[in-house]
Symmetry: C2
Subunit: 376 residues, 2 copies
C-alpha cells in the first residue's frame, strides 16, 4: 500500500479512489470484497481502504472484506439525495464525504464519475496504473493460488486429451461412443471438470483444422483426424479469484508435414521463450528472441505467423502486467507470466503451446507440469 | 441503432465510441464480438459499428461479429506508434482515424482514454446510458435466450433441492451418503449442472441459518435442519451471453415460527410484486407497494427488513435497466425483470423468493416455472 500512499501524497491529493465491482481486479485486490454492483473505495495515506456499501451488504462486508466498511447512510446518503438526483453526482458526494479533497484514480475510472467529482475537486489520473503494477508482483500466497488453479487446468486438459486419445476415426472424423466427437463435447468436459473443482471457465478453446489458424476461435463441430486441435483453458477460481492458463496442440493421427513443422518450431520457441525469461530482462527482449528464432526458421510474421505476444502476466486478471510483447516492460522477481508462442497460417492451421511460471532472479520457475506430446 | 445516431447528431458529434471487452454488455450488444481484451468501437450515424482489432483477431472478427472490422494497421497503427508511446494516446489516435471529430461516450468510458481524446476533440458524456436503455427492451430472440437460461437454472435448482430433500438429519445437521451435506457440495452440484449445460455461474448462494440474514452471503459449511436455506442461482450462457436468475428459500423440517412468518410474508409480497408490474407503471411504484405491504404486516425496514430493491432488469448484464427500487424508472413492454422481495433479520435469518418475467401491456408474463414450497 506504500506505493499508493506515496502517489497520493506526491500528487497533493487526499486519497486514491476506485468505483468498481469485484470483477475489476484492482478493487478486489484492495478490499477482498466480492460484489456484482460497483462500490466506492477510498484509500487515504496511512489508513485502510474504506468501502461505502448499501445497508444490505454491511454485515457481509465486515465479515468478508479487509477494508474499513461504512454504510451509505453513514456517508450522508439521506442528506445528499435531498439535493442530487444524478447517480454519479450522488456517488461523488459519498466519496467526498470520506476523501475531502483531490483524488487520484486509475486509467479505467468511469468518466461520468470523474466529471461529477471534478465539480468540487481535481481528479488526478494515475496513468501508470499503480495498483496494476502492485498486483503484478505476486506473494507466496498468490503463487499458491495460481498453482492450485493450474493443477485444476491440468486435470481438465488430461480429461480432454483422454477423450481425443480414446476416440476412433471414421471417415476422417473422431468418434466417441459411436457419435462424432465434437468441439462442444470436449469443451463441456473441460468446463464441467473445472466447475466440479470450483473454477469457472468461459471461452474455453477446442478448435480444429482450419479454425486453428484463428488464435482465439473457440471451435465448433466434429473434430477431424490428422488435423491440429488447439486446446486453451484459462479458468478463474470461484474461491480465490486467481486464474491459470495453459494451451496444448494435439492431433489424432499424424497431421500434414506443414503442421508438424509448425509444431516443432513452436515447441522449440516455447523452450527458448522460457529460457529467455529472467528478472532484469524486458518482456520485449523475450518476445524478440522468439520472433527472431521463427524468422530464422523461415516463419515470417506479417498478417500471419507469430501474430500475438509471447505471453502476459496472470493473476486476478487473465491478462495483466507484465507483457511479453514488443512494448513489454522489465521483468521482476515475483511476476507470474505465460510463455505461449504460436504460429498461424490460413489453409494450414495453427499451433500454440503455453506454460506459465514465476519470474526469478535466475530465470523462470515453471508452474505448469504437463507434457507436450502432439500426436495421439 | 437509431437512438444512438440521433444522439450523435443532436450532440454535434461525429460518432458514438466505446472502448471495452465483451465482458461489457454495451460492447457485446453493439458488435456481437467476443474478446477478453478491450477494442475500440466507433458507431457513426447511418453506418455499422466499426471495431478496430489486432491482426490476430481479424479473421475471427469478420466471421463472428456483426460489426465492420478494420485492423489496427489499417487504422494507421504503424505511423501512430512512431509518435506516441502512451497506450491511451495510441488508442485515441486509432479512434480518431475513424471518427474524425467529437465523440459521445457512455458513463463508464475510461477516464484515461477520454483525456487522450480530449487533446484533439470534445468528448461528450452520454449520461443517460443510451445503449443500456436500448438493451433494456428485449427482442423475441433475447427473451428466448433468457428463457433458455432460466430452464437451466431450474434444472440446477431441482438438483440442489433434491439433495436437500433426500438428506437425513443427524444431530441437527443434514447428511447425505453418510457425510454432512454442506453448502459447498450443493453449490458444486448447481455449478456442475450449469457447466454441463453450457452456463457459467459464480457466487452461487447456498446459505443457511444465521448466514441467510446477509442477502449476498454465499454460504459455507454444513447445512442445518429446521433453518432457512437461501438458494440463489444466476448464471450466464457461454453461448448467448444472457443471464437468468432465481431464488428459493427452503428448510429441511419446519423452521421457527418467526421464519415461517417471514416466508409467508415474502411469498405474498412476491405475488403482490408480480401483480404490480405492468408497462406504464414505474419500478418505484412496484417497490413501494411491496414495502407498504411489509410495513402493514409489521415488517419494518431500517438497517434490517426489506433492505434491497424489489428487482432489476436482466439480460447481457445480471443487473441492468430498469430498477424496481425507490428510484425505479417507468416500466416498458419488453423489459425483462426479476421480482424478488426478501426480509432479513439478525438472529432469525432471511427469506427471499425470486421469479423473472417479461413486462407486457397488461402485466407480467412470468418466465420462471418452479414451485415455492418451503418445508422439505
Amino acid at each position: 500500500m506504500d506505493y499508493l500512499d506515496d502517489l497520493v501524497t506526491s500528487s497533493g491529493a487526499a486519497a486514491y479512489c476506485l468505483y468498481a465491482s469485484s470483477d475489476e481486479p484492482d478493487m478486489r485486490y484492495l478490499t477482498q470484497f466480492i460484489t456484482h454492483d460497483p462500490v466506492p473505495v477510498i484509500k487515504k495515506p496511512g489508513g485502510k481502504p474504506i468501502i461505502i456499501v448499501p445497508v444490505m451488504e454491511v454485515d457481509r462486508a465486515e465479515r468478508e472484506s479487509t477494508a474499513q466498511v461504512i454504510t451509505r447512510q453513514q456517508a450522508g446518503y439521506q442528506e445528499i439525495i435531498k439535493q442530487e438526483r444524478d447517480p454519479y453526482r450522488i456517488t461523488a458526494a459519498l466519496i467526498q464525504s470520506c476523501a475531502h479533497g483531490p483524488v487520484v484514480v486509475p486509467p479505467g475510472f468511469p468518466l461520468a464519475l470523474a466529471r461529477a467529482l471534478e465539480t468540487t475537486h481535481p481528479v488526478i489520473l494515475d496513468s501508470q496504473s499503480t495498483i496494476g503494477q502492485m498486483r503484478s508482483i505476486k506473494s507466496a500466497g498468490e503463487i499458491a493460488h495460481i498453482t492450485e488453479a493450474q493443477r485444476a487446468v491440468e486435470e481438465a486438459m488430461k480429461n480432454a486429451i483422454s477423450l481425443i486419445r480414446a476416440a476412433c476415426v471414421k471417415g476422417g472424423l473422431l468418434h466417441y461412443n459411436d457419435a462424432p466427437l465434437t468441439s462442444e463435447l470436449v469443451k463441456s468436459t473441460i468446463n464441467t471438470t473445472l466447475a466440479m473443482n470450483g473454477y469457472t471457465a468461459k471461452d474455453t478453446i477446442v478448435a480444429c483444422g482450419e479454425d486453428t489458424a484463428m488464435p482465439h476461435c473457440t471451435g465448433t463441430g466434429p473434430l477431424l483426424s490428422c488435423q491440429p486441435i488447439v486446446i486453451d483453458i484459462f479458468p478463474q477460481s470461484m474461491d480465490s479469484g486467481y486464474h491459470a492458463d495453459m494451451t496444448r496442440t494435439v492431433s489424432k493421427g499424424r497431421p500434414s508435414s506443414a503442421v508438424c513443422e509448425l509444431f516443432e518450431a513452436v515447441s522449440n520457441a516455447q523452450t527458448l521463450g522460457e529460457s529467455a525469461v529472467k528478472a532484469g530482462v524486458s518482456g520485449a527482449e523475450c518476445y524478440q528472441k522468439v520472433r527472431d528464432y521463427f524468422e530464422e526458421q523461415g516463419f515470417k510474421t506479417d498478417t500471419q505467423g507469430f501474430t500475438h505476444s509471447l505471453g502476459h502476466g496472470i493473476g486476478l486478471e487473465i491478462h495483466e502486467h507484465p507483457s511479453l510483447s514488443p512494448v513489454g516492460e522489465m521483468l521482476k522477481e515475483g511476476h507470474v507470466v505465460t510463455v505461449e508462442p504460436g504460429l498461424y497460417y490460413r489453409g494450414i492451421g495453427g499451433v500454440r503451446i503455453e506454460n506459465l511460471g514465476v519470474v526469478t532472479k535466475n530465470g523462470f520457475d515453471r508452474i505448469t507440469q504437463f507434457n507436450q506430446e502432439m500426436i495421439l
